[in-house]
């Protein structure tokens, strides 16, 4: 976990460092600037130091929870503090949508393999996977938000839960299709297992056989996917947040990259890395809970 964190921050820091373009020039908006002011700014953001020193200084401030300031002078911690809950809300909603609907549809499709429902769902999920998120996002924004007026096409101040439903749907839709297919395959594999037949032979009801004996065993690969996907959802929020104007991490990151604002980019990515690592930890724990065999390995 710890090496992953250091490795990721170092890599990101280096990438931002190596991007062409001078942050100070970007800051001034391309207008000429007094050399003294420029030197002072460079010193303020440690831009006059070599790469390693910059990185080490950054790590030092990271450990002391001082994430630095943006070019406009706001503490990065505050900016992230405002944006993070929004994206977290969005990602959790998206995750909930893909988990609940993906698993439910997957289970029904798997149990009815080869029937009309199964085939329909398979074709639709393929379609969803094939269409890029930004197309899907604009179409849904236009149809549901503008034409039908069922949901707000953009997200208002403070990003309340209600406003986030549409973006969350867009964000979760592709993963929903994957979850559906994964669950379906897993159910089909497990429903013919010997222990399922034995469970039926015990006189259990169909419902109990499905929920207790097929579902739990089938969820093991799905949970792994969902956990890894949480990180992906937070990162993937860039496009969705752009479309719906959600004031979240994605938008923040996008703008910071454009400005070459190293502290913000690295801080945001560090947070994302942390979320990813923690999500994987939770998956590992869930995994052990779902499958007792690996607890002893």
């Amino acid at each position: 976990m710890i090496p992953v964190f250091f490795g990721a921050t170092l890599l990101v820091y280096f990438l931002v460092f190596a991007t062409p373009g001078d942050p100070i020039a970007a800051l001034s908006g391309g207008k000429p600037m007094a050399p003294a002011v420029e030197a002072a700014l460079r010193a303020q953001y440690n831009l006059d130091q070599p790469f390693w020193i910059q990185y080490l200084l950054y790590l030092k401030s990271l450990v002391t929870f001082d994430l630095g300031t943006t070019f406009s002078g706001q503490p990065v911690a505050d900016v992230i503090g405002r944006a993070f809950p929004v994206t977290a809300r969005l990602a959790v909603m998206a995750l909930a949508i893909e988990a609940v609907f993906g698993i439910a549809f997957g289970v029904f499709a798997g149990l009815r393999k080869g029937k009309a429902f199964d085939s329909t769902v398979l074709i639709l999920s393929l379609l969803v996977i094939a269409v890029p998120t930004f197309v899907l996002g604009f179409v849904l924004q236009f149809v549901v938000g503008v034409k039908l007026g069922w949901a707000k096409p953009t997200v208002g101040a403070g990003a309340p839960w209600g406003d986030l439903i549409l973006p969350a749907l867009v964000l979760g839709l592709v993963s929903f299709a994957y979850v559906l297919r994964l669950t379906r395959t897993s159910i089909i594999e497990n429903k013919n297992a010997d222990y399922v037949r034995t469970a039926t032979a015990k006189g259990l009801s169909r419902r109990r056989v499905v929920t207790v004996h097929i579902l739990r065993n089938s969820l093991i690969p799905v949970v792994t996917f969902l956990g890894a996907d949480l990180g992906g959802l937070m990162g993937g929020a860039i496009v969705t947040e752009g479309i719906f104007n959600v004031p979240g991490i994605g938008l923040l990151l996008f703008n910071a990259i454009l400005k070459g604002e190293t502290p913000t980019v690295v801080a945001v990515v560090s947070v994302l890395v942390l979320v990813f690592v923690i999500a994987n930890l939770i998956v590992d724990m869930l995994y052990a809970w779902l499958d007792p065999r690996i607890r002893y390995v």
């Binding site: 010997d194 222990y195 015990k202 207790v212 739990r216």
Partner: protein, 567 residues
């Protein structure tokens, strides 16, 4: 069912004992496949009286399991009863609804499945899986956990209350099968379908479990429909035997009568090749196999042959991780010595965990011994260079147990057999093709099969391919690790015949690893009996069978199903 008011499930509580509990009349079952319907069972008839044990015997694909599964409504999705009746206590189940089956399963018809490894759900505790059976049938009572412990203890599981809190992977195969028997009998069904309940277990465990099942079912008055491929086992455990072949019942009647006086040609063949009965068959009308052994080997007992393989004080210690960096030594093979004479067969017999396969792996140089030496054709195996090992591999080849797992499914038959020739750089493409044809001839597989893939072949054919592959490099020694254990009785006899003939023709030496003493009798000249990593008895085959010295060997011999019959 006209007696609805007499019990909750519509069964008379006082069934007339003269009336059959299960009567299958003219049953037909077919499976729908992409190539059209396949008739798995045709015109099957059988009767089980209350409290009676009836065995259905047949090879895989004979329809024996399908017939029994139809009686409990568990035919796989594409299987359907297409004709006839299944009368359970007078009620026709061939058209019963799933709801009716859910009422019947568990408390009226129970099942003990075949493979204890795959039939318990790995993610739930044993106790949970027993408890839900009781609950589903309304028999959990006020103290369900106490009842679970009782049921498990009845099935012969020691320390049942504690064991109930463990997961299946913490159980041995025998213990799992006991748990499955506990589940099958938990709700006191009147009919128990036991589908090869012990074929995955060691003989001694098999005997214990079957004895226990006998006791339990006779105490509870449960009728048993026992499905098995082993005629000896069927004759020993059942009052009535039904022989099925290609979906049809070819013979049925009292067990001993069928064994002594089989009428149908298939039954006759089955009786003749049943390995568990070979001890008798060898003397009265020698099977081809036995003749082969006698003819080739007898003169060689003079000791004129050289010892191609010598194993001295072989020991293998495994470190078992105990967590937190601690480990414990486990001695899998302990001070094992034996020698194999050229052109003969030496069998290593033992139950699972006896270390016999570990010995085989060390002889094959797939595992490094902890101590001791292996000498092949006068040369010490340890400290050999890579190049020497490569040459050694040419002279010693393995045949493994599972013909489904040991052939690469993506390799055609030709490629499978040709690969060792190519690796060792023997001949050119043309001569290799000739060699493959010749090898297929040896194992009696038509050369047209060459371009097909393993999944198109039966288990017996696959094992022949595995033998052909092993023979490709003209080895001197073949290590057969349970090479016939996964095969049906008749196929097993064919393969043993083949191995015997090849030994005669090519002067091969076999090291035969097996758990099945009956097979040993048919093929081996010398026998080493292993128990817990040590050799407990070592002698010629005749000596071990006629005059077993160690208690363990005696137990093993006694546990062969059918051994007590007809002696």
């Amino acid at each position: 069912m006209s007696t609805n008011n007499e019990s909750k499930d519509g069964f008379a509580m006082n069934p007339n004992d003269d009336r059959p509990l299960l009567e299958i009349k003219n049953l037909a079952i077919s499976f729908s496949t992409p190539g059209g319907p396949v008739n798995a069972v045709r015109n099957a008839n059988l009767t089980v009286m209350p409290g009676e044990t009836v065995a259905i015997v047949g090879e895989s694909g004979s329809g024996k399991s399908t017939t029994a599964l139809a009686a409990i409504g568990l035919l796989p999705g594409n299987g359907k009863v297409t004709g006839g009746q299944i009368l359970f206590d007078g009620e026709d189940l061939s058209k019963a609804s799933e709801k009716r089956f859910i009422e019947l399963r568990g408390n009226h018809i129970g099942m003990v499945p075949q493979d204890p490894m795959s039939n318990l759900n790995p993610v739930w505790k044993i106790g949970f899986q027993v408890k839900e059976t009781l609950k589903a049938n309304g028999l959990a009572g006020k103290d369900p956990n106490g009842r679970v412990a009782q049921v498990l203890a009845d099935a012969g599981l020691p320390d049942a209350a504690k064991r109930a809190k463990q997961y299946p992977h913490e159980f041995s195969g025998g213990m799992r099968q006991r748990a499955l028997i506990a589940i099958g009998l938990a709700c006191r069904p009147r009919l128990l379908i036991a589908d090869e309940p012990t074929s995955a277990l060691d003989v001694t465990v098999q005997q214990q479990i079957l004895d226990h099942l006998d006791t339990m079912t006779s105490e509870l008055g449960t009728a048993v429909l026992l499905i098995t491929h082993d005629l000896g086992l069927a004759a020993e455990r059942a009052q009535k035997v039904i022989v099925m072949y290609k979906g049809q019942v070819v013979e049925s009647g009292p067990a001993l009568e069928i064994l002594r006086n089989p009428q149908h040609p298939y039954t006759q063949r089955l009786v003749a090749s049943a390995p568990s009965l070979a001890s008798k068959r060898l003397e009265s009308q020698p099977v081809e196999v036995a003749e082969g052994v006698n003819a080739v080997v007898k003169p060689d007992h003079s000791g004129a042959r050289d010892e191609i393989l010598q194993v001295k004080n072989l020991t293998k210690v495994f470190k078992i991780r105990k967590g937190l960096g601690r480990s414990e030594d486990f001695t899998a093979v302990d001070d094992v010595s034996f020698a194999v004479k050229r052109g003969t067969t030496t069998a290593i017999v033992g139950e699972s965990g006896s270390g016999k396969s570990t010995v085989a792996q060390m002889v094959l140089n797939l595992l490094k011994p902890t101590e001791g030496s292996i000498t092949f054709d006068g040369e010490e195996m340890a400290n050999r260079s890579e190049r020497e090992l490569f040459k050694f591999r040419r002279r010693v080849q393995p045949i493994f147990q599972d013909p489904y797992g040991s052939l690469d499914p993506m390799f055609s038959i030709y490629r499978t057999i040709e690969e060792p020739l190519r690796i060792h750089g023997i001949g050119d493409a043309k001569s290799r093709q000739l060699r493959v044809k010749e090898l297929l001839d040896h194992v009696a597989i038509p050369t047209a099969t060459m371009h097909r893939y393993p999944n198109e072949l039966s288990g017996g054919q696959r094992q022949r391919i595995a033998i052909a592959r092993a023979l490709a490099l003209q080895p001197e020694v073949i290590i057969c690790d349970e090479a016939v254990s996964a095969l049906d009785v008749l196929v097993q006899a064919q393969i043993l015949n083949l191995l015997n003939k090849l030994q005669e023709d090519l002067n091969l030496t076999y090291l035969f690893i097996t758990h099945d003493l009956a097979v040993v009798r048919q093929i081996a000249d010398d026998v080493c009996v292993m128990q817990k990593g040590r050799i407990v008895e070592q002698s010629t085959s005749d000596e071990v069978f006629n005059n077993p010295k160690s208690e363990y060997t005696q137990n093993l011999l006694r546990a062969i199903p059918g051994a007590s019959l007809m002696l």
